[in-house]
Symmetry: C2
Subunit: 126 residues, 2 copies
Amino acid sequence: MLRERGVAPTSQRVSIALEMLLEPTHLTAEEVVRRVGRQDAHVSRATVYNTLRCFVDHGLLRLVNVGTERVFYDSNTSAHHHFYDPQSGRLTDIDDSEVSIVGMPRLPEGHEVEAVELVIRLKPAS
Amino acid sequence: MLRERGVAPTSQRVSIALEMLLEPTHLTAEEVVRRVGRQDAHVSRATVYNTLRCFVDHGLLRLVNVGTERVFYDSNTSAHHHFYDPQSGRLTDIDDSEVSIVGMPRLPEGHEVEAVELVIRLKPAS
DNA sequence: CTAACTGCAAACGTTTTGCAACTTT
DNA sequence: AAAGTTGCAAAACGTTTGCAGTTAG
């Protein structure tokens, strides 16, 4: 899987891939550090951050911004949207049939779209 | 304007309000620190951050998240969306007639919507 | 007089970086 | 040997906080 995307499969990268790419996940870098550390390999924080960036660059993960707090890495790289609950720090998918974005605005001269990010922030019901 | 919203108008708050609330702006906290410092008053970083949060809480500004880098404060508090160009660090409005979000997904049990954030990230045209 | 606000500097949490050591090839 | 990868600790970044002093009503 890594080789297919041109990512040299070192043992650390494989550990991270096993944790993230086998099932749908929404993990922060720190969660990956914890999870990978919990079993087999110790992977350094720096390497986790490098690897996640590398996976994003090679289309294995999608980066999801929710604010300044943290970044999520989503193993589902197809276009879809998210709920974010700052209370619990949990990110969840929005079913694609439930919302859609209609229309594509004229882009500023000399630019193209890098990413479309729709995040619905949640709060406890009043 | 401040009093209307129940915000006690101290001199620092007035300085910041003059900078942000008179015309449409998309400023980061650091830009506000610089701009306010450039003229009359020296307002401390802490006070700028406190004041911006206060203005958001009282509906004078809208907070726009674009990632981990920084937060923007938008003097247009009505529902609308944004382009973000990481290259230039500039945030711009998307005309409301150009995109819309259709449908409102079922929310997770016990939650309601705090904010709907649609940000289109730009990159230089290839 | 009191409650609220300010400013400094120190703390924070997440992410990046410099660089020497270690794998690969 | 060259190219790429790793890990540590330190730095960077934007933001928040503790607290003593100040201001406003």
